[in-house]
Structures are given as C-alpha cells and as structure tokens.
C-alpha cells in the first residue's frame, strides 16, 4: 500500500439522508424540520426554570401567596406586600459591591434611610436595607433584602404603610431567613 492509497476523507461523499424510512415513528421527519424552533423553545424553558430555581421562597406567616408568576408574591390582609425575584448578576459582582450600589441608588432616589444589617437565609449571607418614603397621602416602609448566589441576585422586597408594616416585619424577616437557594 503506497501513500496515495491512504485516505483521510470519508470515501463516501453522500450527504446523510433526510428521509426517514421508519413508518413507526413518522414524527421523525417533522422533528428534523422543526428542530431549530424546538431547540430555542427548550433553551427558553430551561433558562426560565433556571431563573425560577434560583430560590425557594417561603410565604410569610399571615400572608397569602399569588400563583403562576416568575416572581414569588404574597400579600397580607392589611396590604403589606412581599415579593421575591431573581435577576442576573450582571456585571458579575459580589455582595459588598451590590450593597454599596443599592444603598447609594436608593438614597439618591430620595428614600429615607432607616437601617441596614446583615441577614442570613439558611447559611447564605445577605444584605438587609430598610427605608421609608411617602407614597400618596401615606408613609410607607420599604424593606429590601439582597442575596448573591452564583450568577443570580435574589431580591426580596416588602412594603406597606409604616404602622401596618411594623406589625408584619417579624413575619417578613422570618420568611426571608427561610428562603433556600
């Protein structure tokens, strides 16, 4: 055998057939045609699930949860709101970075600073920022908790009229501490 006989290419140059000879699985033909949209849809669903799976929320005691949303939402009978959602950690930064950015942004926007503290959801450290602001004719408390987990930021927001919120604050804090990632 000389060097010219050695082939580095498939000897057969025939393109694989798009014809599916199987009669039992007739869907195979259409699968090949619609593979791109299906893949896109699959990616979308997986991405959405990844977003949802960033946290496992807990409903604060005395609150009723809404269902069927990408973010978790619950409300108390007296109108105190509780929402948990996740956002892409973009640009990728750690919790101290986002603590500073969040506080700066909220104070510059005109919110009144009440307190800040560290908070833990299980063993995961987070940042708790409490603010006040006038809303219409009432004054509202606005609590924000922030967790950085892998490529996601988990954001907890809770708000309500100051006096009503005060009565629900412990339940809200307990629910934040009960979030699992």
């Amino acid at each position: 055998m000389n060097a010219d006989d050695a082939s580095v290419r498939f000897p057969s140059r025939q393109v694989p057939s798009r014809q599916f000879p199987s009669r039992q699985f007739t869907g195979g033909r259409s699968l090949a045609r619609s593979s791109l949209p299906a893949a896109i849809f699959l990616c979308f669903v997986m991405g959405w699930m990844a977003g949802c799976a960033a946290f496992q929320p807990e409903t604060p005691i005395g609150f009723a949860p809404y269902e069927g949303h990408s973010s978790f939402r619950a409300v108390s009978p007296d109108g105190v709101m509780y929402r948990v959602r996740s956002e892409k950690n973009e640009p990728k930064a750690d919790l101290p970075f986002w603590k500073e950015a969040l506080k700066k942004r909220m104070l510059e926007a005109g919110y009144r600073f009440v307190s800040e503290a560290e908070v833990k959801a299980g063993a995961d450290p987070g940042y708790l920022l409490e603010l006040n602001a006038p809303y219409g004719t009432q004054d509202y408390s606005y609590l924000i908790a922030l967790f950085e987990r892998n490529d996601r930021l988990v954001i907890v927001e809770s708000a309500g009229e100051v006096v009503r919120f005060k009565a629900r604050r412990e339940a809200v804090l307990a629910a934040i501490q009960g979030i699992r990632f």
Partner: protein, 210 residues
C-alpha cells in the same frame, strides 16, 4: 489730642475687655454651649390623642409647645429633659424618621457678649462726653447715643434668644413626612436591575394583580 483721662481709658480698654472675658469664663464653664434641635416623624393611629399626650408630657417636663398643627407639634423642652421627652414620644407610635443635631453656640455667644460689653463701655464714654460737650456737640453725641442704644438692645435680644436656645431644645414631632415628594423612579443607575427597585413599581405590580 484728648484729655489725660480719656487717653488712659483708651489704653485700658483692651485690658478691660480681656479681664471681663476672663471674669466671665468660670461662670460660663458649666453652662451649656450647644443648642439641640431634634425632629421625629412618628406614625400614630390617632394624631389628636398623640398630640395631646405630647403636650401633657411637656407640661410635666416644664417645657411648652411653640407650634401645634394637625400634623406637627414643635416643642421647646428643657435641655436636660430632651431624652426623656423623645423616649416618651417613641412610645406613642412607630418612629419613621429621626434626626438629632447640636450646634455649638459658645463662640458666637462669647463674641456677642464681648461686642455688647464694648458697646456698653462706649455708651458710658458718650455719656461722659455729653456732660462736657458744647451746644454743637450735644446733638451729634445724642444721635450716637441713640444709635448705640438701639444696637445694644438688638444685641441683648440676640443674646437672650441664643441663651434660650441653649436652655430649651427644639423638638419637632411630625405625624407624617413633611417633604411629600415621592422618590424618583428614573433609570439613572448604570445597573439595569437597580432601576427596577422602586416602591411605586412594587405597589403597582400588586395593584395590577388585584
């Protein structure tokens, strides 16, 4: 050239002022030199009841209120009773905001007292001059005396006001935020998710749900 008595007085004047300041120092050493101004936004269920309770407590603490409206009570509280008063106010509701400022009035008061002393001394000298002044000089000296008296009265008023500010702190208790401007919701942050952090958006999100 003035009389020997006037020359001596001129030479002594700076020393007199210094002596006066040093003489005053031990008396003022223990006196408060910082004015206190505190404010609190207190959320209560019944504003009228809370305002009444605050006024009653003021009477107990030997203070008084300078302004009382539906939304605010501005109290003047003896300086050593400020903390008990604030602690009492906190029991009436939920504190939404508080601030506590002190302003050192010591230097301002020292300056004012010094200027007042020199004006009074000058006034005394004018009266001396008045006794010996001729007909032409009397009118101008009297004009200077009346100007100086007005200046001294003004200074005394300012001094009394400052001393009152030292003795009584101003504590303002509001039942809602005075500044009703809502926080901005513009997207000025360069981090997109931060622009979604907004109380009004949160409330509207839930209102849509209802």
């Amino acid at each position: 050239m003035g009389s020997p008595r006037r020359v001596m007085f001129r030479r002594l004047r700076p020393w007199a002022v210094l002596l006066w300041m040093f003489a005053l120092q031990p008396v003022e050493a223990n006196a408060p030199r910082a004015a206190i101004r505190a404010s609190m936004v207190l959320k209560v269920s019944a504003r009228e009841d809370a305002a009444k309770a605050l006024v009653q407590q003021l009477e107990v603490l030997e203070g008084y209120f300078s302004i009382r409206t539906q939304d605010t009570v501005v109290a003047r509280v003896p300086i050593d009773q400020v903390k008990p008063f604030l602690a009492f106010a906190e029991t009436l509701g939920v504190v939404a905001e508080r601030s506590y400022d002190t302003q050192d009035l010591g230097f301002e008061l020292d300056q004012l007292r010094s200027r007042l002393a020199s004006r009074e001394e000058m006034l005394g000298r004018y009266f001396t001059v008045l006794e010996t002044a001729g007909t032409d000089g009397v009118l101008s000296v009297e004009g200077e005396i009346s100007r100086l008296v007005g200046e001294i009265e003004g200074m005394k008023g300012t001094l009394q006001l400052s001393e009152h500010r030292l003795a009584f702190a101003e504590v303002s208790v509001s039942f809602q935020f005075r500044d009703r401007a809502a926080p901005t919701r513009d997207g000025r942050s360069s981090f997109p998710w931060l622009n979604t952090m907004n109380l009004s958006d949160l409330v509207e999100d839930f209102q849509r749900e209802r």
